[in-house]
Amino acid sequence: MSEQWQPRIVAFFCNWCTYTAADLAGVSRLKYAANTRVIRLMCSGRVDPQFILDALAKGADAVLIGGCHPFDCHYAEGNYKCLRRFQLLKRMLKDMGIEEQRVRLEWISAAEGEKVKRVINEMTETIRALGPLGIPQKFAAWDQEMEAFAAHVEAGEALKTPCSAHAPQQEPAHV
């Protein structure tokens, strides 16, 4: 990557509250960091944990979910379903080595354009301080350990060199 690294935040916003609030922030000409990319869903209940994992795996440094306040869900209780999934997912992500600040769930009503601004600015700064997550780069780095082999086998040379010679790194002898 060229220039200075910028956090990339993928946001899943409920159509009825947070997405509308973000529209309101626009209409009110509030200014906030340009690091989020909003994906509109009809309800935070539509946020499949797969979306969050996929966004992170495809290069998002963080994921923000915006839903309606408790009791205010346009569809009665979709926000609670989102909250419950989020709580376990967050714990699981921690187990998988992802800092918990990288996923955030916020209740933002259609009237809270200011909150959109605040949350996005806060989150951008938090992620900037944390640094890149860079999962695609990690996948690439992990798979480098196979590159030598792939080339050798494809060239039909596998037989001629003992397999250990391709080992990514020699193990220490006796410890």
């Binding site: 990557m1 910028q6 990339r8 993928v10 159509n15 009825w16 509250c17 997405y19 509308t20 973000a22 529209d23 922030a25 626009g26 209409v27 000409r29 509030l30 200014k31 906030y32 340009a34 990319r37 909003v38 994906i39 509109r40 869903l41 009809m42 309800c43 209940g45 539509r46 946020v47 499949d48 944990p49 797969q50 979306f51 996929d54 966004a55 495809k58 290069g59 998002a60 009791f71 205010d72 346009h74 569809y75 009665a76 209780e77 979709g78 379903k81 999934r85 009503s109 259609a110 009237a111 809270e112 200011e114 601004k117």
Partner: protein, 672 residues
Amino acid sequence: MDKPSKSNIRIGFYVCHCGSNIAAMVDCPAVAKYVETLPNVVLSRDYKYMCSDPGQELIQKDIAEFKLNRVVVASCSPLLHEHTFRGAVEAGGLNPFFFQMVNIREHDSWVHTDKAEATAKAKELARAAVLRVAQHKALEVKKVPIHPDALVVGGGIAGIHAAMTLANAGKKVFLVEREPSIGGHMAKFDKTFPTLDCAACILTPKMSAVGTHPNITLLSYSEVTKLDGYVGNYTVTVKRKPRYIIEDKCTGCQDCIVNCVYKEPKFRDEFNEGLGKRKPVYIPFPQATPQVVAIDPKTCLNFRNGELTNKCKKSCVTACGEKQAIDFNQQETFLDLKVGTIIITTGFQTFDAKRMPQYGYGKYPNVYTALEIERLVNTSGPTGGHVVMRDGKTEPKSIGIIHCVGSRDKKTNRWCSRVCCMYSMKLAHLLKEHTGAEVYSFYIDMRTPGKGYEEFYDKLLEEGVHFIRGRVGEVTDWAMSKEEMEEGKLIIRVEDTLAGYVRRIPFDMVVLATGMEAQSDAQDVRRLFNMSCGSEGFFLERHPKLAPVSTFTEGIFIAGACQGPRDIPDTVAQAGAAAAEALALIDKGHIEQEPNTAYIIEEECCGCKSCLPLCPYTAITFDTGKKKAVINEALCKGCGTCVAACPSGSIVQNLFDDDEIFSEIQGVLAHE
């Protein structure tokens, strides 16, 4: 151009300048140029105003000329113009859902300050839409019939006008009012500004028309407790509170009131703002509609304990005689109504003046709220229109009116209540007329936009009302000196900002022009009807300019002061507008539903029942024969919660299916 294009998908991309709204912060030609390089894009343009007729025609022409089968427009929020562009795509001969919109105005150009960043963001959002639209499927808009009956909630002037408009158009209307009578705030007013016609004279004929209209079912002393269904097919549960009178049998003769064991009215009269008294059995005001009395169980002896009960002679029952309209055993009942559209006109409440203790309301007896003065100057009010102070006899010789009490104040409510300047002047005029007192008006700014309003102000100036520009610091009874005639008076301390010094002015009576705020239970009502509230607590309209009486819930409209402070002409205009919107829906006969419903692929479903309890609309049922779950698409509202939860990925949501969202994720993240 050598681009991977595995299918026969042909996307046309348009980026809108929106004049300079977008173009000033996003390099539109650069976005168009970039999108041209994306897979399946055969055409990419930037254009000044995409939503204009020529813009829409451009799309239609391109569809024909370039054989486009998908269209993406990057412009404003889809909540604003998605419908417009779908229409253009459809007019061009494509299924309207082969369209995706990119929000680069509200979510981009308007909120960012760095052109390079904003342009980069626009490109990524556009890429997401281009990838997404390739996954789009042709969908059909479903038509759902609309129940022709309507519900109006709140019987103030807004509700009355909306109900009358609908009823006059031949629609059956249910009007629900939680108080024993309709009329709302307007019924309490004496005269209306700026014409000074009497509020009762213009309102009460409308009230009685509501009461007698064959198309209106008036449910007074009732509240909506539950809402089910969806636009066109709502089921509303109405709680009918016991008024201990059988409405159909009461003729409004009021014999029961006359014969109550309480010979004199003794209890706080809500209608007269507590300035008058009423009996436990009462009719709120002479022109109340319906003309049906009510018994207040809190004060009626029959409902009290022990000895008090025995003191009740049930003389009202005797007085009622054969009519047998009194029923002390009346219970709460619940009524289910089927309606297609709903108009919410629940009005406002006045600011509680006690929240500004510096003005002494509740502490000094002769500090009044404006609404109290309305009753005091009213001929049918507690004093018969005789303006006297709390002692019940002394006429005030000097009156100070303080504007903006609970308005334009960061400590209470920030907004301007819009009506207070005008009603303060109206009261100034009326008080002067009734008492001949010296009247002072203390204002921050005089706000008189409206037909005949500024002229009314001129008239008041000529009448000799004193206007002092300045926010009042305090009202006190502490006299600084005898010479200034402050002894025994209420002294208003104010900085006269035109004269440039702080003044102390003594008055007999002080009137607080309290502002308007959302009803204290607005949040409950909002939840009940699935609406939103703005940050100030009033119900939120769908769009401040283009959909001022619509809400985010289809088929539910708002009018009057529940949406924000406004005066009677504006309220009536809005009520008419809401009724017209409802009529448009009813007369169309059906509603076109966004086809974002979910469906279960039968052969893929394993019948695990995970989704079954997740649907708040009970759209998901279990086919016990096939042992699989089934979604009733007519009941599905398209939230997608079950889709996200289906552990085997066997539920699909139209417009938001997994592949569409995954491609959006890929689009916003793909590195250049």
